[in-house]
Symmetry: D2
Subunit: 286 residues, 4 copies
């Protein structure tokens, strides 16, 4: 049975006995769980299907209908990101297609990131941003709508503005409905080829971009075949629908799930990037 997932955490659950080249630990903090997985060598790469690097997953309780965000999750994601980030200008890129709700979480989160690269000293001081970090934010769109690979655009902007690191925000696939929208995976390895929702992304990493690429991913879809196998414990008799397309599904409450997930990620990234700025000031500027 082939299970589709972009989460290192789930790949590890699927391979409980293969531990060579894989280190991991878990922390539970009130209502959230933080799992840190380190892939150390090629055996680990093969087992988890991901390149050498660190993968941190923050799992939060499922979304309720309440309007409030989970502060513990924001703080945990923010803290992990700080440990990944070098000093200096950071470029944040929200990947995905704004016309496909489950793929829109990247651009939606990017809208909530405070861009500061253009704010000059005097003005910065006057609005309480004198200790700010310069930040640039783009939503490069998708190949089918732009005719340009997302990675090419990010590489082009990186050459132009020379950030010390890039953060890419992306929608992911999980094997598990209950993780959608309430799980956040961070990694220092960027975007692996072939992962992601919708249009398969090409690799976006230090190798292709030239500076460290930190990925922040939120699962918003499940492969229908994976879901069926998981729920029944049996293999699927057919793996594509009659029209030959992959069957990728998402919960009916996808709109709420994407809004809430994007807001959580935006806040966490803002707090990580501007750790020297008062949170009230940041909130007042977004």
């Amino acid at each position: 049975m082939s299970i589709r997932t972009d989460l290192a955490l789930e790949q590890k659950e699927l391979n409980p006995d293969k531990t060579d080249g894989i280190e991991s630990d878990e922390t539970v903090l009130d209502d959230i769980k933080i799992t840190r997985i380190r892939i150390k060598n090629e055996n680990g790469e093969r087992t988890l299907g991901k390149p050498i690097g660190t993968y941190v997953t923050v799992e939060t309780p499922p979304l309720t209908d309440s309007g409030e965000m989970n502060e513990n999750a924001i703080n945990a994601v923010s803290k992990e990101l700080i440990s990944f980030l070098p000093k200096g200008l950071v470029l944040v890129a929200g990947l995905g297609n704004t016309s496909i709700t489950p793929d829109a979480i990247g651009p939606k989160a990017a809208k909530g990131i405070l861009a500061t690269r253009h704010i000059e000293g005097e003005i910065a001081r006057s609005i309480g941003l004198d200790d700010m970090r310069p930040v640039a934010v783009i939503s490069p769109g998708v190949l089918g709508q732009t005719g340009i690979e997302t990675g090419e655009i990010i590489a082009g902007i990186t050459r132009l503005i020379k950030p010390s690191a890039v953060i890419v925000i992306d929608a992911l696939a999980s094997r598990c409905l209950s993780r959608l929208g309430c799980t956040i995976q961070m990694s220092d390895t960027g975007i692996c080829p072939g992962s992601g929702v919708g249009n398969k992304r090409a690799e976006i990493s230090k190798k292709t971009i030239g500076v460290p690429v930190i990925s922040v991913g939120i699962p918003t879809v499940v492969d229908a075949v994976t879901l069926a196998q998981d729920l029944t414990g049996h293999e699927c008799e057919r793996t594509v629908n009659p029209r030959g397309a992959k069957m990728i599904v998402t919960p009916q409450e996808i709109d709420l799930l994407v809004s809430r997930g994007a807001a959580t990620v935006s806040m966490a990234i803002n707090y990580a990037l501007q750790e020297n700025i008062d949170r009230e000031t940041i909130l007042g500027l977004i």
Copy 2:
């Protein structure tokens, strides 16, 4: 195995041998298939889980990325609706929650219906509508947002404006991913209790409203457990997700599917309601 579906067509497929009280025929017309099912007695009601009446399903080829609508489908739905409709004022109601994409197809279709009840003789003539049928259109919202049952609102408006019939447009559940967005079910029995996406609707029928209720439904969701059983041929080990909620899913391309489905239904209803008006005139007024 319990299979969840709101389509009479699928209930019949699930019970191929029980034919008492059920009549049906199929027509294939170019790229579309029309299935007409008549439930004649209580045995038929029990077998298909639906009240005595007529259920017509128009199945169209799956949506492509092309911007064009299927004219055959529009014509077929329109023709069937004409046979259901009495003369005189019709009230069209788009059911569902505009904030939940797969449940929003009703209100979205209602937006595309030409309201004419308020257009007076002289003005009607001047815009080419002198032979028009009076039409009123509402989107009553959902209980959780209004505090009022959808059926109560429709009954209240019906008492007020006294239409000769009500058309309700609603999102449905299918057992089958490939039918979502490209299948349209019409019936002269209104809305059955408990069907529909999202908030379960209460009954909306001639019995509760006082005038004939014609339902037009488009499936936009699948129950995850039904999907899993269908794909694997095995029963599910668990039937709710860990947080205890029903698992209802929808394809990732739900936005396109809802837009296209709503547009198809709007056009078909407009052409059926205004069969004496030139189609160009109708298109120019929407």
Copy 3:
């Protein structure tokens, strides 16, 4: 020079010397100004072009780009509404066309109102709403899209659910760009014929509906001719544009202005309707 305005406050500014039948007082509270105007007789009606009744206007500082709402304004509006409201079930109606941004403030505000009429005792208790007031919420649409007068729909729903009062939320015209989106007028006289943005509304008042109608209006548009006369002190040479249409304009930042205004009104109405419920509980349920 004819100046178009739906604000009693501005009508009074235009007629400083005519005081017969008009009482008024002003309160300044930190950064907001509350003006209370009472029209006592027919002379007052003629001077201000509005029926006998009370008109309270809360003026807040102009919107900044900051994400925060003005708490003083919410509290002031809430307090005034409490004084207008009888006990028991209230029906809130958001008037206007969701497809025209400056006319959409009513439906947008209605989306933020907590509907509670359908919440039963046991469930109400479990979510902290045991002392709640029953509330129903509708967005009746506009005549051109429904074929039914807004007032007819409200009357029909009122007959159905028998509220003790109706609150109607509507977009207004001001003479003054700087008041748009940051002024809120409340009145116990309902909607006057001919006021409002977009489609002229018919009267919605105790006389037509049968129960007290409290209006909450936010100006979002200015008549271009009024604006021109105000800015130059001279009459306009032409009063319609070449295509014969009225020229109604709105600031380019209309989207922000409508979102912020709607959110302020929603919060104020929620706090007024549910004055016995903890504000945190209300916020968690919206």
Copy 4:
């Protein structure tokens, strides 16, 4: 009296007697008017406040409520663009802020442009695009949200993909309400510093980008002071509103005006870029 306008046509109307360095001619074609203005020298530059180059304006009848677009306008704009365009890859950039309706016409039009740069020979052939021109499309956002000058982003992408020309689509200011949304100005001079709606754009031209820049602009706003002076024939007594901000206004029907304007421009650009492709094929792919 200072009149604000981004249209060469209106600058010329304001200076009827200054003809040195300015050539112009008009064509009327059914219901549309095409004005071609050529600025030939520095005197012309000074008179019209624009750089040496060609400015073609297509004026269409005002928008009606009908859903149909003006085919004459699409054809006229398309034909003019063909005369501006070199052979080879073209980069189309939709300028403006998607959160401010009147400034969103550029990104909205960009969404309707068929990107083809990524479509390979075999696939291109199979979908009827074997004679297509390669096209890339971006919506670079605005400085306040990205921290990067729009012009910098376009220059960066231009260096990356090396187009033979860039088309920039932008919202403009007109002096005249009746021209909003139904006038399209094309020019071979790119974007002049300081023009445009919302955030003032920096220059985007052959000088700054390195390849020819063709601008396509649609007016969507009017300066309130300009409007007032135009309507009354008198100067304004105050030129900013009390909060010190410029007063830029837009008609209340801005949503419709932007949708229709963007769709017209998209179609015209698609037909110009893909003049060797059947129009039906283009429509089917968008």
